[in-house]
């Protein structure tokens, strides 16, 4: 009888995967159609290359050593970009959670910082690059910081809202159990917002990629964004589209990993 429950779950999973693939297949078909039509019109069309053209271009980037650098470009780019993305998001998360915890717990700090934080969150970092360069120099750091600056206000503000929506009784309870201010922050609030932190990171991954690509387009010699920038001048969509697909796939996998962690490690979160 427990067997039966398991079976039902398996069927459910299969159904889930089947349904999930449908929109992707539709997208692929739509693309092929559009591409074919454009090629009929103009055999040299560059904007919507055929799937096989893209596969060729992707193959070269992924599995043929580049003459200049003697490396596999795709992997080199991927590695460089993932390092930056991870760094940017990591700092944003750390910064976000630290600020959020303290803002939410210390009313004076809240008054002091919250309006400023909202203000900061509205600054389009790409518009004040020279100032950012003055602050962080021109190096790896600035690419990471661009992501951090863009994302941490969102993380911070979302976590502040989350903490503020927690039942006050839990704080009271903790105080009556002898928790110090620090213990309340670190043993009561922090573990309770961690799953939400994971969710906000999932939500801001897209923005993270965008900032990464923008940053790499400004100053860098490798990375997925750099490559896209480079070939964009030639409108080489046969490289761009697979690269974007690859970025999206990576993002998808990171998202799913984070989801898996939050579901398993923080199972209590979904149930309350």
């Amino acid at each position: 009888m427990l067997e039966k429950i398991k079976q039902l779950r398996e069927i459910d999973k299969a159904k889930k995967i089947f349904l999930a693939t449908i929109p992707f297949i539709i997208l692929l078909m739509l693309y092929s159609l559009a591409s074919t039509l454009r090629h009929q019109d103009n055999a040299n069309d560059k904007i919507l290359p055929s799937i096989s053209q893209m596969a060729d271009a992707f193959y070269i980037k992924a599995f043929v050593k580049d003459r200049r650098t003697d490396q596999y470009i795709l992997w080199q780019d991927t590695f460089a970009s993932l390092k930056r993305l991870a760094g940017g998001i990591f700092f944003a998360a750390i910064l976000g959670i630290i600020i959020a915890l303290h803002i939410a717990m210390l009313p004076k700090l809240d008054m002091l910082l919250s309006p400023f934080l909202i203000f900061i969150s509205m600054i389009p970092p790409l518009a004040i690059l020279p100032i950012i360069f003055i602050a962080f120099g021109v190096n790896e750091l600035v690419k990471i910081m661009l992501i951090t600056i863009g994302i941490f206000p969102i993380i911070t503000r979302d976590l502040v809202l989350t903490i503020q929506k927690m039942p006050k009784q839990l704080i009271t309870k903790a105080k009556t159990l002898g928790a110090t201010q620090a213990q309340i922050i670190y043993t009561i609030i922090l573990p309770q917002v961690t799953p939400r932190l994971i969710n906000v990171i999932r939500l801001s991954l897209g923005m993270g990629w965008m900032l990464l690509i923008a940053g790499e387009a400004i100053a860098s010699t490798e990375g997925l964004g750099y490559r896209i920038f480079l070939v964009r001048r030639y409108l080489a969509m046969d490289v761009i589209i697979p690269y974007v697909f690859w970025i999206t796939l990576l993002g998808f996998l990171i998202d799913k990993t984070l989801y898996w962690i939050s579901k398993n490690k923080y199972h209590w979160y979904c149930k309350t």
Partner: protein, 312 residues
């Protein structure tokens, strides 16, 4: 000071800087003068000039117009150390339906406003006795200009440089109306260094550059190097060679010096600075095109001799 940094960005005439860094030519010449030189790629052209202006770099590749609008007007005394080339067809105006400049009247024109494209357009209009008001200018980001043009309305035109110029010229039905070969020697691609940098740096850079030019002009390695440059700029040799054809490179120092000493350069710079002033690019509060002094190799000065910020 022992460490020097050069900022460069992707452009046909500047690709050699990447090669000089990777191949060790720069390093070699640095050693000769007991200094370290590094050429750093900054993808975004304007940002590379900004960084130079900020003081993060000692030298930077830019055009004879942008050196006026950014570093010079920001008070950075700059020297056009190397005149690498001038655009000889590398910048152009391409239209979908218009057959000549006159027919552009009332049409949408996509361009990076206030860039050399804008200058080129102004010169083209001048020659056809038209004014900017006759057109509908639409500012466009350099990276997207080809796509924007290709997806724009049927009557539009575009002013741009290579490689997007190559891409839009290839489009079915487009026509090149005007290009920089119609105003030869006016759009000049330079390596600009901060005038304060020591001679050792300047000499080392000049040495390295012309060694590379020599290789690129005619040597057994030429084809190999072109391949590398093409690769580095994201294309293949054939297309890159095409770009080189429309770029009038100065492979020898004496040719470049001769260009610098010509009176043509003075005329050009007068045109350029008037354009720059006219568009307000020297900044607020500057009310004469002569506010910035430009000194030529013969020590004559165009503009304010007390405020020399650009030296050839």
């Amino acid at each position: 000071q022992k460490n020097f940094k050069i900022a460069w960005s992707h452009y046909t005439g500047w690709e050699p800087w990447g090669y000089m860094q990777d191949s060790g030519i720069l390093k070699k010449w640095g050693k000769k003068f007991n200094i370290n030189i590094e050429a750093v790629l900054i993808n975004d052209y304007i940002e590379s000039i900004n960084l130079y202006t900020l003081g993060k770099f000692d030298a930077c590749t830019m055009t004879n117009m942008d050196v006026l609008t950014i570093p010079s007007s920001s008070g950075i005394d700059s020297t056009a150390l190397i005149i690498g080339d001038f655009s000889n067809g590398n910048d152009g105006i391409v239209a979908k339906t218009a057959k000549n400049i006159k027919q552009l009247k009332g049409k949408d024109v996509y361009l990076v406003e206030l860039s050399v494209s804008h200058y080129l357009l102004t010169r083209a209009l001048e020659q056809n006795h038209m004014r900017e008001k006759d057109l509908n200018l639409i500012n466009t980001s350099d990276a997207d200009i080809a796509t924007v043009f290709m997806n724009s309305s049927k009557n539009s035109a575009v002013v741009t440089w290579n490689p997007p110029l190559q891409v839009v010229k290839q489009e079915k039905g487009t026509k090149l109306l005007f290009d920089s070969s119609n105003i030869p020697g006016e759009i000049i691609d330079l390596l600009v260094v901060n005038s304060k940098t020591p001679d050792s740096f300047k000499k080392a850079v000049i040495g390295a550059w012309y060694e590379t030019m020599n290789l690129l002009k005619n040597s057994p390695q030429r084809n190999k190097i072109v391949k590398i440059l093409a690769n580095q700029s994201g294309t293949n040799s054939a297309l890159f060679e095409k770009q080189l054809k429309t770029t009038a490179m100065f492979f020898q120092k004496n040719k470049a010096d001769a260009f610098a000493n010509s009176t043509k350069l003075k005329t050009t710079m007068r045109h350029v600075r008037n354009f720059v002033f006219d568009k307000g690019l020297m900044g607020n509060g500057i009310n004469s095109p002569g506010a910035i002094g430009i000194m030529f190799p013969d020590k004559t000065v165009l503009g304010d001799p007390l405020n020399i910020k650009l030296r050839f």
